[in-house]
């Protein structure tokens, strides 16, 4: 206990460039989370619509796809893709990555990480979106058909605006999970906050005294707690607003811990 509360150790964490170095790493995590989220939303919507399609084959394939990626451990997918992706894909990513991204995110390894995060999260988001769309009253769709709207018109004007608004709180919760999951890319040597923490504590300072690793990682943990608490406040506020507006909640999606925890007072 003496070690944990020793002010010298905490002072070490906040001296010179250490905090800056950790924040720099944390920024990479946030950027990975945002990029992965953007792509996951697009892919997830396509998967959700496929799962709700009238075409049996498409529905079956999309269902299988979603179930496979949702039920594999994310770290498993990351490690597999890092080993199995052909080098040409990585080169293609390095060429295609836009200039404004930081250097860390332009390396080919990041492609495997992003792909894994998108595969996993789009599957989860597809289920959230499906639940959101299915929670709508059937009459909405029937009325739209009766008005003579085409499939795309119905989706764009009637179904999606309502369904997607209902899934907003669940999506923010998933963003929290994704934000935590970005630390897993450190396993394939992408320079984000966990790596920065390890670099920082790998050296010996003060003439042979080892760097306070415990304090550094508690500090990293606190950064995540603060960010995610802010996100979960946002999610809760959206949830309350949505319930007040429509009087409905979206059914919790199975396999999603965050949703389970949110589905509390009906």
């Amino acid at each position: 206990m003496g070690y944990l509360f020793d002010p010298d150790n905490w002072e070490w964490v906040v001296t010179s460039n250490n905090v800056e170095f950790l924040l720099e790493g944390f920024l990479v995590n946030l950027q990975i989370a945002i990029i992965a989220m953007a792509f996951s939303l697009i892919v997830g919507l396509a998967l959700a619509l496929s799962r709700l399609s009238r075409n049996t084959a498409l529905r079956f394939v999309a269902g299988l796809w979603v179930d496979v990626w949702r039920n594999l451990p994310l770290i498993f997918v990351i490690l597999y893709l890092a080993l199995a992706l052909p080098p040409s894909w990585r080169d293609a990513y390095e060429n295609a990555a836009p200039e404004f991204l930081p250097d860390v995110l332009q390396t080919g390894r990041v492609f495997a990480a992003l792909l894994a995060l998108v595969l996993y999260n789009s599957a989860v988001l597809a289920e959230i979106m499906r639940a959101g769309i299915q929670s709508l009253d059937r009459g909405q769709n029937e009325a739209a058909i009766a008005l003579g709207l085409s499939y795309w018109q119905r989706m764009r004007i009637v179904i999606l605006p309502q369904g997607l608004r209902r899934m907003l709180p669940a999506t923010v919760s998933q963003l929290i999970t994704l934000n935590k999951d970005t630390t897993l890319v450190s396993i394939i040597a992408i320079q984000e906050v966990i790596r920065h923490g390890r670099i920082l504590t790998g050296f010996n300072f003060f003439g042979g005294v080892q760097a306070p690793l415990l304090q550094v990682f508690i500090f990293i943990g606190l950064m995540f707690i603060v960010t995610n608490l802010a996100l979960s406040r946002l999610s809760r506020r959206l949830e309350i607003r949505e319930r007040a507006r429509t009087g409905t909640t979206v059914e919790p999606v199975s396999g999603l811990e965050d949703q389970v925890a949110m589905a509390e007072p009906r």
């Binding site: 451990p73 498993f76 080993l83 897993l184 396993i187 690793l213 943990g221 995540f224 608490l229 999603l256």
Partner: protein, 219 residues
């Protein structure tokens, strides 16, 4: 495809031992998660001013921190601080305490799902708080929490892979990586590891569905 089966038969002992390690990690962490989760849930519904807040801080802390960070704090961090903690203890404690936050939320939600009127009726019949909880609320709450507990268990099976990736424990994913780096048969090695995980998650799904059926209220 035949070479994939060959890889399985050639490396069966390693894959099986990895499967068994993952199973034990999940089993032990599940025990920790249920016990700690129940205690935290009890704190959160306690009729007091400070105990629920204390439980709330626990839930928000462990739900918002990455599991990998928790593993590094509890293993590398504590070791650097002079605590001789082993990878198994650190891994099970991290996964257990992390999952306990979710378990606590589910248990609390289950208790809140019991209608207010029943609790008021019990209290007006002269039951005290622990009696109301034990006789009226918990028997009904148990039914509503089975299904979400199943989801949490499946998430925990998946999260257990992070332990093997971060610490020196040869779980099924680690074994697959070892086999893959030795034989260069990445696809086959990872395929069999995936089968291992899907076996575990499928078993958990079936088990919880059975439990749900057994405790269902017949009307």
């Amino acid at each position: 495809m035949s070479s994939w089966f060959e890889l399985l038969t050639d490396n069966f002992d390693e894959l099986a031992s990895g499967f068994w390690v993952t199973f034990r990690l999940v089993g032990a962490s599940f025990g920790v998660a249920i016990v700690v989760g129940a205690i935290v849930a009890a704190l959160r519904i306690a009729p007091s001013k400070w105990l629920p807040r204390f439980g709330g801080v626990y839930v928000e802390t462990f739900r918002n921190i990455p599991l990998l960070g928790l593993l590094l704090i509890s293993y590398s961090g504590l070791r650097r601080a002079g605590v001789p903690i082993g990878p198994w203890t650190a891994g099970i404690a991290s996964l257990g305490l992390y999952t306990a936050a979710y378990v606590a939320e589910v248990l609390r939600a289950g208790v809140f799902a019991v209608s207010r009127g029943q609790i008021e009726a019990a209290l007006s019949l002269g039951f005290d708080h622990p009696q109301t909880l034990r006789r009226i609320v918990l028997p009904q709450a148990v039914r509503t929490v089975i299904s979400p507990l199943g989801s949490i268990t499946i998430a925990m099976i998946k999260n257990s892979a992070i332990i093997g990736a971060a610490l020196a424990i040869n779980d099924i994913l680690k074994e697959a990586r070892i086999i893959s780096s030795r034989t260069f048969e990445t696809d086959a090695a990872f395929f069999w590891a995936a089968v291992g995980y899907l076996l575990l998650t499928a078993t958990a799904t079936v088990a919880f569905r059975q439990l749900e059926r057994r405790y269902a209220i017949r009307r």
